[in-house]
């Protein structure tokens, strides 16, 4: 009995002492040379920024870039907490396009990149992309653009072939030039193979909403969904229509089942953005050489995702941080990011004309030269205001669509969703 008591005490003392010691070490080592600069850089998702950071370190002795990658939601929440508390933010933070408006309310906690001379390089980037990175008054720039997400049609050649449809990208593009063509192709595929055209309601909904020039809110924060001609209802109706034709599958994006469905070819097309390929090449190895890329019907062209790199105001060295971002988002490096496995599509249009870019053959798509399809889609995109509650508002519509998929009445679900969106917008 006595022994175990002393053992306990001993462990207690040991543990406390060892932590204190460990923490002490940490303090000592972090001081280091005052000449050197360490930049903390938070990213999310699949990027090649870690490799690029290493390259930058080599070219710029004395600069260390510490890259930290987290899951999308965790990353943005963590950044939000740090900014809200006013301490603990990194020197550089990647922010996704749909999330950016939420952070714009903390303008005083970011470095205005215009103060560091960003207007010099404005011409390198797509106008709409640049504009979203600004505040409403266009005098404050939150971040430099990284990638964009021009949408194309990834289609399964095996399913198309089985259904007696053409498999060559040009022929596919000619065959599917409108919404009705798409529905018709879907019906054929369903008849011949029994498989749905698209994976989920969300994909159909996004086909319209990602290309709309106006979404849930105006710049004053008014909810627009009930206004005549607003794209949200149109997108909703389209998803309902596809569902009524039985063309929609039950694979919710990012779920393991969805991963399997992509890998195994359980649905025929994905209306996705360039970065999707980064995910597919990692997680859907069996689908290699099965997908090809074609242009989407004009009405469904749009942008999905893409990011910015911001410099939170707490940084000790905004000049060095800016130098690195400028380098990282330069046309040359955006091209590098596109060529890497991450497949991040450049927001610098000058790149689209380079031979080097046009000639990229993508082994994942059976050696198809895909870059031009994305580039064509990229030039069709225009500015859209999203607002700080973009994501939770959109979730309410997706929610309703899920219920419709499960058998609920579309009109009732729409009314309920509008009510919930109103509640969200009032918060």
């Amino acid at each position: 009995m006595r022994k175990s008591k002393w053992l306990l005490m001993f462990i207690m003392v040991l543990a406390v002492a060892s932590t204190l010691a460990a923490c002490g070490d940490e303090e000592a080592s972090s001081e280091g040379d005052s000449e050197d600069v360490t930049l903390k850089f938070w990213t999310f998702g699949a990027t090649n920024y870690e490799e690029l950071a290493k390259e930058y370190e080599k070219e710029n002795p004395g600069v260390t870039v510490e890259v930290k990658t987290s899951e999308n939601a965790d990353h943005h929440n963590s950044l939000f907490t740090a900014l809200s508390a006013g301490t603990g933010a990194p020197d550089l933070a990647m922010v996704e396009i749909d999330q950016l408006d939420r952070f714009k309310e903390a303008q005083d906690r970011f470095v205005n990149l215009y103060e560091l001379g960003a207007e010099e390089i404005q011409g390198n980037y797509l106008d709409w992309k640049w504009q979203i990175g600004e505040n409403n008054e266009n005098d404050f720039l939150f971040g430099l653009p990284t990638d964009i997400g021009p949408k194309v049609m990834f289609y399964r050649t095996d399913l198309f072939e089985k259904s007696g449809l053409p498999t060559n990208p040009d022929e596919v593009q000619n065959m599917i030039g409108s919404k009705n063509d798409l529905i018709q192709a879907g019906e054929t595929i369903k008849e011949e193979t029994g498989k749905p055209l698209v994976d989920s309601m969300e994909m159909v909904y996004r086909a319209v909403i990602d290309g709309a020039t106006e979404s849930y809110y105006d710049e004053e924060g008014n909810l627009l969904v009930e206004e005549e001609g607003n794209a949200v209802k149109e997108a909703y109706d389209l998803a309902v229509e596809f569902n009524e034709h039985g063309l929609v599958g039950s694979y919710e994006m990012w779920s393991p089942e969805w991963g399997d469905a992509v890998n195994g070819g359980d649905f025929a097309i994905e209306m996705g953005a360039a970065w999707l390929k980064g995910w597919m090449s990692d997680n859907a190895p069996d689908a290699e050489d099965q997908f090809r890329v074609a242009k989407l019907p004009e009405e469904f062209a749009g942008n999905w995702g893409g990011s910015y790199i911001t410099i939170p105001g707490e940084t000790d060295d905004k000049e060095e941080a800016y130098k690195f971002v400028k380098w990282l988002t330069s046309p040359d490096n955006q091209l590098n990011s596109f060529k890497s496995d991450a497949g991040l599509f450049p927001s610098t249009p000058e790149v689209y004309d380079r031979e080097e870019f046009k000639e990229i053959e993508d082994d994942y798509f059976g050696g198809q030269k895909t870059s031009q399809y994305f580039a064509d889609a990229a030039t069709d995109i225009s500015f859209v205001y999203k607002g700080s509650k973009y994501i939770p508002t959109q979730d309410e519509v997706l929610n309703a669509l899920q219920n419709v998929y499960d058998g609920a009445d579309p009109d009732k679900e729409w009314e309920a969703a509008v009510q919930r969106m109103k509640d969200v917008s009032k918060r």
């Binding site: 903390a106 499960d406 009032k426």
Partner: protein, 307 residues
């Protein structure tokens, strides 16, 4: 306790000791517990998005929350899942602990370890495993098993009862070992000779359970009822990880804490989030008082034991 005069200094000493012994908790509490608590209550009367200026709005946050059907839905969900997932733990936990404490039992250690194993398993693991078991696929284990009995597959994540039942099972599975082990600790504080005496008097197992175990375990039962009530009303982690990306957009299994978390971190409305927390605090105080009162009534006979 009668004390003569010469012990008076002893009494003062006792007081000093007592204050000294409880001080570590209150010092730490004052530093890291009190400030967040006061801050939350303060925020309940402000409009704040977490980044900009705060604005005093009086009771408006409370009226927004109390008029929101989603709030009432989340309260309903929380209570239902509390009844389905948490309440059975108390009963099954007592039975398990009683059995595991029997002297005749072989492999007692092994059984005890196995019952406790789920609590050890990390939340990430539980989420992944249960997420796959209860996927709406026909090949998923839960639906596969249902089909063996000729029942149609269920949408475990999006249907009203499917989500609640799946989460309740997960909560039960994960926490049953925790309650059992607290009861086991309680059973160990019961002197063994009491059972001995009862057995000599000819009491059978059920009589022992009824007249010795439950009355003496009562303080521990009250303890777990209290903590389970609080735990059930604060249910957050299990549904959040189980539902994954749809956790904060769907309402089938949204709990009150998820509702306030969504307000604060997804809708950036810290005022209404904090107001919900204050309302929840009141609910918890009332519910735990009622439950504790009810559970302390289960066995009135005390047989002159000290509590």
């Amino acid at each position: 306790m009668k004390r003569s005069r010469k012990y008076r200094s002893e009494e003062t000493k006792d007081k000093i000791s007592a204050y000294l012994y409880i001080s570590p908790f209150f010092i730490i509490f004052a530093i890291i517990g009190l400030y967040p608590a006061i801050f939350s209550i303060f925020l309940a009367f402000q409009k704040w998005n977490g980044l900009g200026e705060m604005e005093f709005v009086g009771l408006q946050n409370f009226s927004v929350v109390l008029q929101d059907p989603t709030f009432w839905k989340s309260l309903y969900n929380t209570i239902i899942m509390g009844i389905l997932g948490t309440a059975p733990q108390i009963i099954v936990g007592i039975i398990l602990a009683f059995i595991l404490n029997q002297a005749f039992l072989k492999f007692r250690n092994t059984f005890r370890a196995m019952i406790f194993l789920p609590y050890i398993t990390s939340m990430v693991a539980v989420a992944l495993v249960f997420g796959v078991f209860f996927s709406s696929n026909e090949t998923a284990l839960a639906n596969y098993t249902l089909q063996l009995f000729g029942i149609d597959p269920v949408n475990w994540k999006t249907s009203e009862w499917g989500a609640k039942i799946a989460i309740s099972i997960m909560v039960f599975w994960r926490w049953i070992g925790y309650n059992t082990i607290i009861y086991l600790a309680g059973l160990q504080s019961i002197p063994k000779d009491l059972y001995e005496a009862a057995r000599i008097d000819g009491a059978n197992v059920f009589q022992q359970l009824r007249y010795i175990t439950i009355p003496l375990l009562k303080p521990f039962i009250i303890l777990t009822v209290f903590f389970s009530t609080v735990g059930a009303l604060q249910l957050f982690t299990e549904p959040t990880v189980f539902l994954g990306s749809s956790a904060f957009s769907r309402t089938e299994a949204m709990t009150v804490v998820m509702y306030l978390y969504r307000d604060a971190f997804s809708l950036q409305s810290f005022g209404t989030g904090s107001a919900t927390a204050v309302i929840l605090l009141a609910i918890i105080v009332i519910a735990s008082a009622v439950n504790t009162y009810l559970s302390s009534g289960i066995r009135k006979r005390k047989k002159g034991m000290r509590t």
